[in-house]
Structures are given as C-alpha cells and as structure tokens.
C-alpha cells in the first residue's frame, strides 16, 4: 500500500516537472506586472515628461520650437490665469470646510444610537455621490435659473428676492459650491460614519461616568479620534477641488467674466480651444507643483501623527 502510493506520487511529480511551464516563480512577477507597467510607461510616464518639455516650447501646427521660460513668464502676466488660481482657491477655502462640517454633523446624527431608519438615511445621503457630475450640474443649472428656477421660487416664500445665480460673478461661484456640496457631502459622510464606528465605545462610557455631556464628549473624544479621517477627507477634497472642471464647465462655462474659471478649465480652453499646447502644458505644471506642495504638507501632518 505504502509502496503504490509512493509510486503514484513519483509519477505525478514526474509529469508535472515534464510539462513545460512557461511561467516559473522567477519570471511570473514580470509577466503579472508587465501589462500594467507597460501601459503606465506609455500613457502616463511618457506624457508627463513630454508635457514638461512642451511647457518650454511653442507649438505652431506641427512645428515645435524651444522658447525657454517664456510660457511661464507669460503665466505671471496673464490676468485670466491669476483669476483661475484665485477662483479655485476661493472655492476650495469656502466649500471644503462647509461640506466637511455638514458631513460630520450628519454622520454624528446618524451614528447616535437611538436613531431609527439609519440605513434609509445613509442610502439617501449617499445617492448624490453616484451621479455623473455632468448630470448633477445640468440639473442644478435648471434648478438655479434666475427667473423660472425652483430654488428662487421656494426662496420667494421666505421673502428672498430672486437671486441671479448663474449670471453674476459672486453667485456663480456660490452655485458651483452648491453643486459640489450636494454631490460630495454624502460621500464624505460615509467616510466619517466609518470613522465614528471605529471609536471604542468605552471612551464615551468613561466620559459619561465622569459627567461629561454629549457636546463635551463630541469635542473631547469624537473630534480628536477622527483626526486621521479628517486629514484624509481634507486631502481628498482639496486635490479634487484643485482639479475642478465638470461643474463650472457645464454650469457657467467659466463665466460670467471668468468668475468661475478654474485651473483645469483654463488648461482645457488654452489647449483645446486655442490649441496653445506649450502654454497649456505650463499651466498643467503649475497644477502639478501646487498638488505636490499640498501632498507634501499632508505627509508632514500624517508624519507627525505617527
């Protein structure tokens, strides 16, 4: 019995060794990683380098000529570019805190144990995060119409005069902020909710024994415990806002008077409306630089955590 088993074993071993396996544990990783890496080289690494070179060139038809730093120095004197930077940061500084505060409040509300219908609320709040930004922007474009939009109609009941949402510089920015907030609040809420669920309940029990009220607990336990989640959402929202394109493109097309022109929208217009590839590449590299600085700050912050 033992003997036959051994024989069977050796024959199977023999068969396996004889079968030509092209993939060995040695070369397999290159095979598995190959397609992804090749695609990244061709469609990301090469364009990133090429774009850098382009930012020092002027493109006329198919002719390219080196012009040194002139694309960059032109940026410094371009009022529309300044405006796009300023707009992007204004939207960022107002929108991200409002949205994250809302997300946190809703998450805290949903997290409190006595509440019924949590699943319903969670789905409802998350729903906007599944829509295409284009679709969301179109719907809001109609909702926010100055004369016939529903938003102004409802506001008229509380005595607010009709607001020129999309046609004046200030309100156009507010409109972009409204759409962004509508689209992303539920998304961040779910992240906060998961963060809240990870806070050990003993902390709260101990605090209530010590006589700390709900509000005190929120500021002394919840907020500090959520710090890593906070950093994550702030960074994600910041990077997302720096790349803001769809909403202003659909809602206002950058107007009125460039009030909602963003960095990416300006890059798009320069590159694909006016076909100034060199100049557009310089804009792209400013975006890279800003993103790099913000990522660096984030790494510093997270580094302090650990």
């Amino acid at each position: 019995m033992d003997q036959t088993e051994k024989v069977v074993r050796t024959t199977t071993d023999f068969r396996v060794k004889n079968r030509k396996n092209l993939l060995t544990p040695k070369n397999a990783p290159y095979f598995f990683m190959g397609p992804a890496f090749l695609l990244i080289l061709i469609f990301t690494v090469y364009p990133v380098i090429s774009s850098f070179i382009l930012s020092f060139q002027e493109v006329r038809g198919i002719e390219k000529s080196f012009v040194g730093f002139s694309n960059y120095s032109r940026l410094f004197h371009d009022p529309v570019f300044y405006k796009s930077l300023l707009n992007t940061f204004q939207i960022l500084i107002v929108q991200v805190p409002i949205m994250l505060t809302l997300s946190l409040l809703i998450a805290a509300g949903l997290h409190s144990s006595m509440l019924k219908g949590k699943a319903f609320f969670r789905i409802s709040y998350f729903m906007p995060a599944i829509t295409a930004l284009v679709a969301a922007s179109i719907v809001f474009m109609i909702l926010l119409d100055e004369h016939f939009g529903i938003v102004n109609y409802f506001l008229s009941f509380v005595g607010v005069d009709s607001i020129p949402w999309l046609t004046t510089p200030f309100w156009a920015k507010v409109s972009v902020i409204i759409v962004m907030t509508w689209r992303w609040t539920g998304y961040n809420m779910v992240i906060f909710l998961a963060g809240l669920q990870n806070i050990p309940s003993e902390l709260y029990e101990a605090a209530s024994i010590d006589g700390a009220g709900k509000v005190k607990q929120f500021f002394l336990i919840t907020i500090p415990q959520l710090k890593p989640v906070f950093i994550f959402t702030v960074v994600m929202s910041t990077i997302g806002t720096l790349q803001l394109f769809d909403e202003p493109f659909i809602l206002t097309n950058g107007g009125p008077n460039s009030a909602t022109m963003t960095i990416t929208l300006y890059l798009y217009e320069t590159g694909f409306k006016f076909f100034e590839f060199g100049y557009a590449s310089a804009i792209a590299y400013v975006l890279v630089l800003i993103t790099a600085i913000i990522s660096w700050i984030q790494m510093k912050l997270v580094g302090d955590e650990e």
């Binding site: 990301t44 719907v139 016939f148």
Partner: protein, 276 residues
C-alpha cells in the same frame, strides 16, 4: 420633564435629517419629472412637481438629435470593457507586488506610486497628440487605453492580496499548480470583495468621465453620455425636455445598480478606502 425634552430633541434631529434627505433626493425626483415634461413646462411658475405625458416625445426628439441608443451603447461598451480589463490588469500587477520578490520591484512600485500623485490633467495634451498621431480620435481605444492601468486600483489590489497567506500559494506550487492557475483559481476567488469594489469604482469613473472623452470624441455617433449631454446644453436652442431625459438615462442604470449592490457600491466608490 426630562422625557419631553428628549422627545423634542429627537423630533428636532429627525426633522433636520429628513430636510437633508429632501435636499439630497429632491433633485433626482425633479430630474425624473422633468424628463416627462415639454421644454416649456420645465421652466414654469409655479413649478410642475408631478410627471407629465411628454416622455415619449422627449425620447423621440432626443433620439433624433443624438441617436441615443448608439450613445448609450458607446458608454456601456467602453465602461464594461474598461472595467473588466483594468480590474484584471490591476489584480495581476497587485499580485506581483504583494506576493513576489523580484529584481527592480521597489523601483517599479515607486514609479507607480509617483503616477498616483500626479494630477491626470498634465497628461492631456501629450496624450491628445499621441491619439492624433495614432489616428485614434473618435475610437473606443482612445478612451479605454490611456487609463487602462490605474495606479490606484493596483495599489488597492496589492493591499488586499497581501492578506492572502503565502502558505496556500506555496502548497499549490508543491502540488504542481502552474503560476497562472494559482492566480486564477486560488488568489482571485479569495480577493473577490476587493475585485467587486475596484470594478464598481472603475465603472463609475469611466461612465461619468467627461474631460478626456470630450477631447478625443468629436463625431456624434461616438459620443459617450456625458459628452452628449454637454453637447446638448451647448446648442443654440436648448430643448430641456431632451436634456432632462438624457440626464435621467445616464443616471437611472447606476441608481438601480446602486440600490441592488449598496454595500459593495459604497466601498467601491470610496475606493475601498473605508472598511466597514
């Protein structure tokens, strides 16, 4: 006294939460209603909040101006092929980085991580030049190929595959299973939840993507839904009934899909960054 205070604060929380629900869902409802109204009635004071009977007409005119069936198919085909291929490629790469030691591993992985940090806008212009030189404008591959290797998906798959114990891989090697077979029959089934999350994430990002298709597609019959919608509102005379129906058509499939697969969906859209 205490209980009545508690009850009123409960009512307060509920009414705030319900107001929030109306704000979140309201625009969806209104979009659905709008798709059944003629253009003129969408801008009506007081607003019409109940469905009308113009749905078929809107569909007809939307089909006339865009050929909506073909556009829907373009979006679906691109998103499905992209999702399937990208998930496979990312899983393969993630596996290589999680479970093998090989020369240059750290360098390769570092390069991939770097591309994760770079805003994709920087690649738009060289990629456009590339597509022109390949003669690929207005093709499916122009949309699919450039983003087919997603550093984010690779990173996520790597994280998930690290949790697979080495011993089962070793054991199957001893049993004589080939490397491909180990990957397909042992590794992939174990990381199924991650595969689901990554595919949903990729599908959504492709289905909703605007800027790159906008640049590479300029013939109507190749448009994806977001590009088609943006072209509708760029017209001189906008037919809002059509526009509402178009946005509804681009949203409804995802909405159904979401209601069916909620859990996977949420973790997918969050890119697996949150574990519940």
């Amino acid at each position: 006294m205490i209980t009545s205070k508690k009850i009123s604060s409960k009512i307060g929380i509920y009414s705030l939460l319900i107001a929030g629900v109306i704000l979140s869902i309201g625009p969806f409802y209104w979009m659905l209603v709008g798709s059944t109204l003629p253009s003129g009635e969408i801008f009506h004071i007081p607003p019409k909040l109940l469905p009308g009977d113009h749905l078929a007409k809107n569909f007809q005119s939307l089909n006339e101006s865009l050929g909506i069936a073909k556009i829907f198919w373009n979006s679906l085909f691109i998103a499905l092929v992209y999702t399937f291929t990208c998930t496979l490629i990312s899983a393969m790469a993630g596996y290589a980085f999680a479970k093998f030691h090989f020369k240059g591993k750290n360098l390769f992985f570092f390069i991939i991580l770097c591309t994760l940090m770079i805003p994709s806008q920087v690649t738009l212009i060289p990629l456009f030049e590339m597509m022109v030189s390949f003669n690929w404008l207005n093709t499916y591959q122009a949309i699919i190929l450039p983003s087919l290797a997603s550093p984010f998906a690779i990173y996520l798959m790597r994280q998930n595959m690290k949790a697979v114990p080495d011993s089962i891989i070793e054991a199957s090697r001893v049993d004589g299973a080939g490397e491909l077979r180990i990957f397909f029959t042992i590794i992939l089934p174990v990381v199924r939840p991650a595969l689901a999350a990554v595919s949903i994430f990729l599908f959504m990002s492709q289905w909703n993507s605007l800027i790159w298709p906008l640049i590479t597609l300029n013939s109507k019959e190749m448009f994806t839904l977001p590009v088609a919608l943006s072209s509708l509102i760029g017209m001189a005379r906008i037919d809002y009934g059509q526009v509402m129906l178009g946005t509804t058509l681009s949203t409804i499939p995802i909405m159904l899909f979401f209601l069916l697969l909620q859990k996977h969906f949420i973790s997918g859209i969050l890119g697996g960054s949150v574990k519940e």
